[in-house]
Amino acid sequence: MSRLSSTDTPEETTDAAEAALDGPRNELLARLASQLGDGLVESHLVPGDDLWIRVTRESWAEAAGYLNTGLGFQYFNFLSAIDWMPSPFGRDMDSQVDLTLGHDESSEIDASLEHGVAGGETRFQVFARVNDIVNGLGVTVKVDIPDDDLSLVSWTSVYAGANWHERECWEMYGISFDGHPGLRNIYLPSGFEGNPLRKDYPLLARRLKPWPGIVDVEQMPGGDEEESGDDS
């Protein structure tokens, strides 16, 4: 919408090789970088497919405002969070059959944080996706949330749809959103203790009754050996 087609040409001449791969997304990234400055920490671009950016916590609201009004990303897709600390429970409640299915290393749990695309430094990351439906582009924005202050500026003033997503994120991860009109439980009963989607929140159903495992991998009569392909 507000994106002018006339800005295409200078970008392409300077950065022809990359622009050939994915012109619109490279241009978008360049504009985000110039607007946010140091606020844009890292980015990840898959040509012809998708774009991720990671912003600082201070630039979170600015990123939303610029994406919405400056770049025409008016469509709010979703907002959620990721807990990068691997579960202390591992998959220990799985049946032995499951464990033998190529998952031998599960006994030792690697507690180190290992982040996904666009990197990260903290245990919790909030990520949101917005779309520019006119040009068919989407961008996933990530932000690190430090452990000692699990809070973030709310996006509700920019994207009205963020309201419920932030409520869900708050109850599932315990991340509060400053400026949110009413942070209260959305799925869980009020007074629920704990944040279920955190990795250190045990899945009680599994701990009470281990996964049967064998039922799921039982060979069908007749088998399908030939079409199963190469075991890797």
């Binding site: 469509y75 190529g102 959305i186 799925y187």
Partner: protein
């Protein structure tokens, strides 16, 4: 003369003021009306707490979670093939469509592509679940305003499609048929002619519904101009599917971002409506069902041969990475954001379900409407509770 009239006027004003005072004294507190969790208009267990001033809603607050099953947590302890059994139950009237974006996202991470025949059959089943899902809506929309007949027609004719889905997958509602790398099985013999017959029946069902509802005075009075969503508001709330297309936004993931499905090889049209009211949403969905039947016919005609399963390892480990794939499901855009750490199980799956966003507009939309319109507006937004609560 003037003095009298002045005095008259003064007394009139005084009388009015007294009236106003009486009105203030008589004014009662706003009433809170609980709609649901068990209410026919809520398609399950959505509860709406509406604060009323007389017949008018001044604030509406949907309360969810009566059916929250924690799928995002459960996916973290299930292998990728096991996850499809769960996500079948998100939108339970168009189940097959739920599996597609998840499988496509996993395939994207694994860099596997399903063979052409599998992609075509996927698209056929995808569109048939749309027909099964939306034909339920078409019947239900009549029911919301008191027309009972369309509901019976819908249940009768939806069965033709469900039978065909059952013939391929073995399940009417939970097919669990999509696999990473293709499909579980090929089509049974004689299925194509049967399906074409079913599509013909669905088209005549659409005509019947159109004849029964469109132009019906009561239906039009209850839906036209009711629950108008302007396009920019709809975009901000993340509305999708027919809800946003009924507000004049020409956006369909099937056409604009076809990944993994073969909609771009078909001749079809994206229907939009400019009104943005309950009637527009009904009308757009009606056209979409017709368009889907045409698509299925084309797909059946052009079905390529070959295998339905690519070569994939027996034990599916998805390489580390993140991928987001969304498709245009019956209820709107549905997407899965998969975070993989190269394990048998996903590290994190964010399920972006259509109804959750679609219903998040209700506090805004229901403000100021009259109580009976709540039912038609909710009906026209069309949600499936499993798709909200996940």
């Amino acid at each position: 003369m003037t003095a009298i009239s002045d005095r008259d006027q003064l007394s009139y004003i005084a009388a009015q003021a007294a009236d106003a005072r009486v009105n203030v004294e008589l004014e009662t507190e706003g009433m809170t009306l609980n709609i649901g969790p068990q209410h026919p208009a809520t398609h399950g267990t959505l509860r709406i707490v509406a604060k009323l001033d007389g017949e008018q809603v001044i604030a509406a607050d949907p309360v969810m979670g009566y059916m929250h099953r924690g799928y995002e947590k459960l996916t973290e302890v299930r292998t990728y093939p096991q996850v499809t059994t769960l996500i079948n139950r998100i939108d339970w009237v168009g189940s097959f469509a739920n599996e597609v974006p998840f499988i496509l996202a996993a395939e994207k991470l694994m860099e596997v592509e399903a063979p052409p025949r599998a992609q075509w059959i996927r698209t056929i089943l995808f569109e048939m679940s749309r027909i099964a899902n939306i034909s339920l809506f078409l019947g239900d929309m009549g029911l919301q305003v008191g027309a009972v007949t369309p509901a019976f027609f819908a249940f009768r004719d939806r069965e033709h499609v469900l039978n065909q889905i059952e013939a391929v997958t073995g399940g009417r509602f939970h097919p669990n048929f999509d696999r990473i790398g293709g499909l579980k099985d090929d089509l049974p013999a004689g299925w194509i002619t049967e399906t074409k017959r079913a599509m013909k029946k669905i088209r005549s069902f659409c005509d019947e519904i159109e004849g029964l509802l469109q132009g019906n005075e009561i239906f039009e009075a209850r839906t036209r101009g009711i629950g108008v969503i302007p396009a920019d508001i709809g975009l901000g709330y993340g509305l999708s599917g027919a809800n946003i297309r009924a507000s004049g936004v020409d956006w369909d993931t099937r056409r604009d971002n076809p990944c993994g499905l073969v909609h771009d090889e078909l001749d079809w049209k994206v229907w939009t409506h400019v009104d943005g009211d309950s009637f527009a949403r009904f009308w757009v969905r009606l056209q979409e069902v017709r368009e889907s039947t045409k698509m299925v016919d084309q797909l059946l005609d052009g079905l390529p041969g070959g295998p339905v399963m690519a070569k994939v390892p027996r034990i599916i480990k998805v390489p580390a990475g993140e991928a987001y794939v969304e498709t245009e499901n019956p209820l709107g855009v549905m997407g899965y954001y998969i975070v993989s750490k190269g394990d048998l199980v996903p590290y994190r799956v964010k399920i972006r379900s259509a109804s959750f966003n679609n219903i998040s507009i209700t506090p805004w939309l229901l403000k100021g409407v009259y109580v009976p319109d709540i039912v038609t507006i909710l009906g026209s937004l069309y949600f499936i509770l499993g798709d909200i609560d996940r």
